[in-house]
């Protein structure tokens, strides 16, 4: 039970984006629509789980002095794999995400988990930890993307949710939601809600 709780931490109490402040960079980019956001979080979860697993396998052979470079190279290899798969099978989405797939390499979630968890734990728990953090990251991404796509273009997963009659009666999409800064404000609101629910997470000043 304790074990399970530890692994589920990243989903809420120890969420990479809202609590650990890791990986914010790419969190906000692909979130104007739901589809790229889902693709993005699957890619991050996959890269995170596999690189955690591999680093953990190698943890006793990597000399500590060069570990950053080794980690970067392993992560980069997995990111290249993901990038090639996306370009081959989901070309549209890969165009939409453009550089942000490549930026998974420097996503601090992955480096952070490698340093904090994989270097000190056995391969299987590391892989699960990577997956859990990837999912915790994806959760926030999906919430942001849902809000932005629904209010910004009235669709979800490219299907129209807000019916045409609304528009005929004067409903207008909130154009602000499509713009990048709104992602930041939504994430701020998520942090706000989460911290009102969990008082112990609140900061001093």
């Amino acid at each position: 039970m304790m074990q399970l709780k530890k692994y589920l931490g990243p989903l809420n109490r120890n969420n990479p984006i809202t609590i650990q402040i890791l990986g914010v960079c790419s969190a906000l980019a692909g979130t104007a629509q739901l589809k790229p956001a889902v693709v993005m979080c699957i890619s991050v979860a996959v890269v995170c789980a596999f690189s955690n697993f591999v680093i953990s396998l190698l943890r006793n052979t990597i000399p500590p002095r060069v570990r950053i470079i080794v980690q970067l190279l392993i992560v980069a290899t997995f990111v290249i794999l993901v990038d090639q798969v996306l370009q081959a099978f989901f070309y549209e989405i890969s165009k939409m995400l453009s550089v942000f797939v490549g930026l998974i390499i420097t996503n601090c979630i992955i480096m952070g988990r490698l340093e904090a968890f994989a270097l000190a734990n056995r391969p299987l728990p590391s892989a699960i930890d990577g997956l859990a953090n990837g999912i915790g990251y994806g959760l926030v991404l999906i919430i942001i993307a849902t809000v932005r796509e629904l209010l910004g273009s009235g669709t979800l997963w490219n299907y129209r949710i807000i019916p045409e009659t609304f528009y005929q009666n004067g409903y207008i999409n909130n154009g602000l939601m499509v713009l990048p800064p709104m992602a930041l404000i939504i994430i701020g609101v998520i942090v706000w809600i989460q911290r009102s629910a969990n008082k112990e997470l609140q900061e001093e000043y």
């Binding site: 402040i21 190279l73 980069a76 990048p180 800064p181 706000w192 809600i193």
Partner: protein
């Protein structure tokens, strides 16, 4: 192709790394507690961007691009190594950051004391890798375009982090709802600054 100056101004204000693409948010949030350290990190990012983007531009155009190896021998015309670009860029960035650190330590201890602690952080700053990837995506016509893009992006990043740090020093004295303190208000402030910067997109 737009002029160099246009590109420079555009990359400072309109395509600002932080407000338009959210690159380098992690260090932006972590190192903006006071203006002085924020300025140090900003300068270091500028510095590294101006060096790495042109270097990566040369590597991409002379070695990695499809058909780029033709200057070695015509037989290599069909070789396309661009799938390797990610791994090469990150290696180049890590190497250059390491080199810079050593050079600065040797020749200018004053600069080293102010930049030194930030340099290793920069190797994994997404703004740097992002700059190189945008350079590849936009296909700049010449190396001088790259330099002006790099300088613009760096200065844009510096501007954003210094402005944010200054606001954050003030925020400390205001009465914010408890759950919003710290991280929450930082995100919202950045969002509002982003909206303010969008007013400049007409330039």
């Amino acid at each position: 192709m737009e002029s160099l100056f246009d590109l420079f101004i555009r990359s400072i204000f309109v395509d600002n790394m932080i407000f338009a693409y959210f690159l380098g948010m992690c260090s932006y949030l972590a190192v903006s507690k006071n203006v002085k350290t924020a300025f140090g990190l900003g300068i270091a990012v500028c510095f590294v961007l101006i060096i790495t983007i042109p270097v990566n531009y040369l590597i991409y155009n002379l070695l990695l691009k499809g058909g780029a190896l033709i200057w070695i021998s015509p037989a290599l015309e069909n070789v396309d190594l661009s799938f390797l670009s990610l791994i090469i860029y990150i290696a180049v960035i890590a190497a250059i950051v390491q080199l810079l650190e050593m050079i600065i330590e040797k020749y200018s201890s004053a600069l080293y004391n102010s930049l030194g602690i930030f340099l290793p952080l920069i190797a994994v700053n997404c703004a740097i890798l992002g700059g190189s990837l945008f350079m590849q995506e936009r296909n700049f016509a010449s190396i001088s375009h790259c330099v002006s893009y790099a300088a613009g992006s760096g200065i844009g990043w510096l501007l954003a982090i210094v402005a944010f740090a200054a606001i954050r020093e003030r925020i400390r004295y205001s009465n914010i709802p408890k759950p919003l303190r710290g991280l929450g208000i930082s995100y919202i402030t950045t969002g509002l600054m982003g909206i303010a910067f969008m007013a400049l997109s007409g330039i």
